[in-house]
Symmetry: C2
Subunit: 350 residues, 2 copies
């Protein structure tokens, strides 16, 4: 009996020890997750439902018109360019090209960034030479490598030639006497783009559902935070809030093998400090928007992440780290609003 009792005691001890190890592990994993969540909430905040603007309030009539105009090729020189040409929604509003091709096969100076969540940024375009999505739309219609129209007047003339637009502009801008203007075109397209917020399962995580990210994605988020990626790519859009030199530790072209060296924001400001400075891009849907960087010089997200570590943070991320960061970044692939996935019918010519 003594032996049996001693044996029972031993078994009990083992069970208690194992249980306590298990519970400690569980608790510490929970603690770790809770800690990660807390940090993440501080770093990323909450994704809004739409990217509102006081100057351009979102109305359903403006969004309706804006979505139609988004597909309108007939207001471009040559009739082949629309917003959707470089930002096809089915490709997460990028075109898969290194640099977009506009009217008459003109090559755009930089890679087409996605317009999903883009209205949440401090400015538009890689070098911040467009104030906001409205300004981007406005300037595109006369941009030589994009729509290439000779003047705003020429755009208005084309719009007025298509009978259906009169009523659409009137409904979207009811107090305007002569609503077909390029400013209103820009506001309508801007209003549409301001609806293009794409929540993902990372947002479920941020709302407290710790299971919304798997172990690898959480590991990636942790590495992403600890490696200091959040120095630039933070906030609800995971970037888009500041400018930064591309290549802090080493020249970027050494790693991207870029064909041309782009002076970045220097082109806009002519300030030496802005040499090779670019707007920090948003990383939402980054798993769907290859190729990467301002010149689309890198095809694979894994390579882009490693290069960023190397030249922005001075860190040589190992394969496992890169892979888990990529897993985290892919958790930012979001849901495109249903209405934006519906093709609008365009007004006919007469």
């Amino acid at each position: 009996m003594q032996k049996v009792r001693r044996g029972s005691k031993n078994v009990l001890t083992i069970v208690v020890v194992l249980l306590s190890i298990f519970l400690t592990h569980l608790l510490s994993a929970d603690d770790e997750d809770a800690d990660l969540l807390k940090k993440a909430i501080n770093i990323f905040g909450t994704l809004p439902q739409a990217m509102t603007s006081e100057k351009n309030p979102i109305t359903s009539e403006k969004v309706k018109l804006g979505k139609i105009l988004f597909y309108e090729t007939r207001i471009s020189v040559g009739g082949t360019v629309s917003c959707a040409r470089c930002h096809p929604i089915g490709l997460y509003a990028t075109d898969g090209l290194r640099k977009s091709i506009g009217n008459h096969c003109k090559v755009n100076p930089r890679n087409a960034p996605t317009i999903l969540n883009a209205a949440g940024q401090i400015s538009a375009h890689w070098i911040g030479n467009r104030k906001n999505v409205e300004d981007q739309a406005r300037q595109s219609v006369i941009g030589p490598p994009s729509f290439g129209m000779p003047s705003y007047e020429a755009v208005v003339k084309k719009l007025k030639e298509m009978k259906g637009y009169g009523e659409l502009f009137k409904k979207a801008f009811p107090i305007d006497n002569d609503p077909i203007t390029v400013d209103n075109l820009a506001k309508a397209i801007g209003a549409f783009e301001r609806t293009l917020v794409t929540p993902s399962h990372f947002d479920s995580f941020l709302k407290g559902d710790i299971t919304a990210l798997n172990r690898k994605e959480k590991g990636g988020l942790k590495t992403y935070i600890e490696a200091d990626c959040i120095m630039c790519h933070s906030g609800p859009y995971v970037g888009g809030q500041m400018y930064e030199t591309f290549g802090i530790f080493e020249p970027y072209w050494k790693y991207t093998k870029s064909e041309q060296i782009d002076e970045g924001r220097y082109v806009v400001t002519k300030n030496d400090a802005d040499q090779y400075v670019f707007k920090v891009p948003i990383l939402r849907n980054v798993g769907k928007t290859a190729p990467y960087f301002h010149d689309g010089s890198v095809d694979k997200l894994e390579n882009a992440v490693w290069i960023m570590g190397k030249i922005q943070l001075g860190k040589d991320l190992n394969k496992a780290q890169v892979e888990e960061v990529v897993a985290f970044l892919k958790s930012l692939t979001g849901i495109i609003p249903e209405d934006a996935l519906k093709i609008p019918l365009l007004p006919s010519m007469d």
Copy 2:
């Protein structure tokens, strides 16, 4: 009293006469409508729900893949051409150009016909040099002015590089060992296009609802029948069933002011009888698919109708006749299937 009675009699006579005129008119209008409907049913028949093919049965998985491939630019040389480039659904699957612009700004030889209802035709393309919608899709990917790929193998290689396509092709062609082939691409796109039937209020008329067409549209239909437009443009798709010389009474270019003279089907057959012969286009949605004719040389539907009367029928239709025929033709503007108006998300590169 006699006077009064005589007066009453007179009033009664007038009432009876007016009533009988009114009733005769009503009855004759009804008779006329019934007669028109009967003729129309004989001439146009019934629009099917889908344009089926024994060789390529429509399945939901094929249609799903086909719709994705329809938007796929990454299988074209230069990465800017997809089916949707020349056939954007929002523009009733035409591009509004005289002649479509393909890869590297190459100009296509003829105007892009709509692909709505196109699978119901005897062949594809203006000169019938594509057997059907599947053949059209297959040849497009290597067509020099369209996708411009160097070979079918190059297309397959591109598709295989994009991870998501493996599963999509497997589901669409479950018994194939190696389902990613250009034949299957063609079948999938073809299956999608075979769903693109667009019923309009003309079809409600054909089903017996005489009120579905207004007076002007019915007048136009009557003129359309009496002027012999139905010699070629008949059947459920209102055309697409035969080849015909363009310019029977006079050379077409005299009226269309075409920049080049197109020899039409002669290019395919080298048969002298096929000089200036083209496939009779379908007229469904013709009110939405300007510009007109094989070279898009005519912008206005009114002009196109008048020219057709002149050079095909030897008839100088007057303004009123042209206007009512146009009103009838616009009653052929149909409803695009809801699923075709939803943008599919494309597989990402990795």
